[in-house]
Structure formats: structure tokens, C-alpha cells
């Protein structure tokens, strides 16, 4: 038997009719898919993402600019206001007299130290006396 004749006989192979009908019904019941190419999905997402980003940036710029303008226009930073504020500052600098005569310029260091120490002692005495006065006052209040 010729092999090609045998091959043609394989044409008799057929599916089960009941199975064929069942699968037909199931297939036609399935929804069709609208295929979108991947690249177009990427472009769409990029486009929408960039639109959102640009919109957000615009909002920030507009909002920030508006508030900046408001701030600049306020009286707090205008040049006439600044001038007036500067003039209003009352800076009185007082230089106290420096007693150079009490200490000779070429006096030894120990002498200078003694002089400074005596001055410090006077200050502490005054502080002690004032502290005691405060204590007396407080005692008087409590009684």
C-alpha cells in the first residue's frame, strides 16, 4: 500500500461530535478580548503620568508664585517700611569711662591681680549685703 494512500486514510480521524458541540458552545460563550499593544499601553500610561506631573507642577508654581507675590506686596518687606523701621530703632551706645589712672601701665602682674581681686571682693560684699537685706525682708513678710 502506498504510504501516501495510508496517510490520506488518517483523514478519517475525527473528534467526537458531542464533544465538538460542547466545546463550541463554551467557546462562543467566552468574551472576546480587545488586544492593546504593550507599547501603546506604555505610551498611554507615560502620557497620563506626565500630564498629572505637569499639572501638579503647575499648581505648585502657581500657588507658590501667588503666595510669594502676596508676601512681597505686604508692608513688611516694602522698602519705605523698612526705612521707617530702621529709623525707629533707638540705638544708644554708651561708652563708660575707663579708669586707666588707677593701674599703672607698667605695674607688675601681681599688683594688677591684687587690684582686680580687691575690686571683686567689694562687689561680692555688696552682693552679700544685698542678699542679707533680701533675707530680712522675706523674714519680715513671713512673720
Amino acid at each position: 500500500m502506498d504510504e501516501f494512500h495510508r496517510l490520506k486514510q488518517l483523514n478519517k480521524i475525527a473528534p467526537d461530535p458531542e464533544y465538538a458541540l460542547q466545546t463550541r458552545v463554551r467557546i462562543l460563550a467566552a468574551p472576546q478580548k480587545m488586544q492593546v499593544p504593550i507599547w501603546s499601553t506604555f505610551v498611554v500610561s507615560l502620557r497620563s503620568g506626565s500630564i498629572v506631573a505637569i499639572a501638579a507642577l503647575a499648581l505648585v508654581v502657581i500657588g507658590g508664585g501667588a503666595s510669594l507675590m502676596k508676601y512681597l506686596e505686604s508692608s513688611a518687606l516694602s522698602s519705605p517700611t523698612l526705612k521707617a523701621e530702621a529709623q525707629a530703632i533707638d540705638m544708644q551706645i554708651e561708652l563708660t569711662n575707663v579708669d586707666y589712672k588707677s593701674l599703672p601701665s607698667f605695674a607688675p602682674l601681681s599688683v594688677k591681680r591684687d587690684a582686680i581681686a580687691s575690686k571683686d571682693k567689694d562687689k561680692s560684699d555688696n552682693a552679700t549685703s544685698s542678699a542679707m537685706n533680701i533675707d530680712e525682708a522675706l523674714n519680715a513678710l513671713t512673720q
Binding site: I13, L28, K33
Partner: protein
């Protein structure tokens, strides 16, 4: 190619189930046969054929009619489905899986058995071929596609398909000749029959 196939395709692209049903009725036996001859098992062939047509129906809206028969596209889907099937299964297909009941031509049991054996040999020889050789043999000699249609289904040029066919038939003939009983020649002694 089915009559008014282009019209049916155009309607199916728009979602006409009735039109696709007609295409299904025409191509389903061919796709099933193609898949069955490659995988060798009826249940698997049924599942794969179902997958092929489900895939085709779902993606029909994006199908572009380039003038070729729809069968070429369906065979391509079927080939890919079989490749994916083998990739996941990795099992050896039993050669004796041919079911004589498939031949519903009303023949008596004896002749059906004889045909089954003969066809079993052909099936075995076909299974032993390379996948590309199997494809061209099935498309050209079992489903009787034209060379142009077979080339389109395989994604090859007509020249390449013709060359492939030539090699496939040579290989198949070699295997069938090896299986068929050799006639007695001069001076050749055939092996004695075993005594009962």
C-alpha cells in the same frame, strides 16, 4: 478554503458568534486531527483543540485578513499549543494509542483491525519524525492543504516548505519501509515459523 470565508471572518471580527461558529464547524475536525496526530492521545487532543479555538475567538478582533485562509492562522496557533504542551508534559507518547473506534466508516471488525494496524504503523512512523517534518506531512497529505497554505501555516516561504516536504516524505518512506515486511528475494531464506 471555506466559501465566503472572508465575509465570515469580517463578521467574526465584529463579534458575530454565528459566523465564527460556521468557521469552527469547518476547521475544528482538521485542527483536532492535526493535534491528535502530534500528541497521540484523544483527551489531550480535545483539550488542545479547545484551547486553539478559544484563543482564536478571544483574539479575533485583532485578526487581520491578509487574503490567506483562516486555517493557516489556526494551524499556527495549534503548532504553538502543541509546543507548549510538550514543554510542560515532557512525556513519551505511546505508539499504540491509536483508537480504531475513531474510524467510523462502518467497516467490520477484522478489516478495521487490519486498517488500525497499518495506520498504527503509519502513525508510529509519523511520530518518529522531527516536528517540522510531521507538520508538513500532516498539512499536505492528511489535511490536503495546498503548498501555499501549508507554507503560510508553517511561517515559511513556498520554496522552503517544498524542500521540507521533500525531506519529510523521504524520511517517512524510509521508516515505513523499515517497518513493512520485506518480500522474499532470490537466495534469501526466510526465518522458519515456530512449531505450535
Amino acid at each position: 478554503m471555506l466559501e465566503e470565508e472572508h465575509n465570515l471572518i469580517a463578521r467574526s471580527v465584529k463579534g458575530d458568534g454565528e459566523a465564527f461558529g460556521i468557521l469552527y464547524d469547518h476547521y475544528h475536525p482538521r485542527i483536532y486531527r492535526f493535534v491528535y496526530l502530534k500528541v497521540g492521545r484523544r483527551e489531550e487532543a480535545e483539550d488542545l483543540a479547545h484551547q486553539v479555538f478559544l484563543h482564536a475567538w478571544e483574539r479575533f478582533p485583532s485578526y487581520t485578513d491578509r487574503g490567506y485562509p483562516l486555517g493557516s492562522w489556526l494551524y499556527r496557533i495549534a503548532r504553538n499549543a502543541v509546543i507548549d504542551h510538550y514543554r510542560t508534559r515532557r512525556e513519551a507518547v505511546p505508539i499504540e494509542d491509536l483508537d480504531p473506534e475513531l474510524f467510523t466508516d462502518g467497516s467490520d471488525i477484522e478489516s478495521a483491525a487490519e486498517e488500525g494496524l497499518t495506520l498504527s504503523d503509519v502513525r508510529a512512523a509519523l511520530t518518529a519524525l522531527k516536528p517540522a517534518h510531521q507538520d508538513i506531512i500532516i498539512l499536505r497529505f492528511v489535511d490536503e492543504l495546498s503548498l501555499k497554505e501549508a507554507a503560510e501555516a508553517l511561517g515559511k516561504s513556498e520554496g522552503a516548505a517544498k524542500l521540507l516536504q521533500h525531506r519529510a516524505t523521504r524520511e517517512l518512506k524510509k521508516r515505513l519501509d523499515a517497518k513493512s515486511p520485506k518480500p522474499e528475494r532470490h537466495g534469501r531464506i526466510s526465518p522458519p515459523k515456530t512449531a505450535e
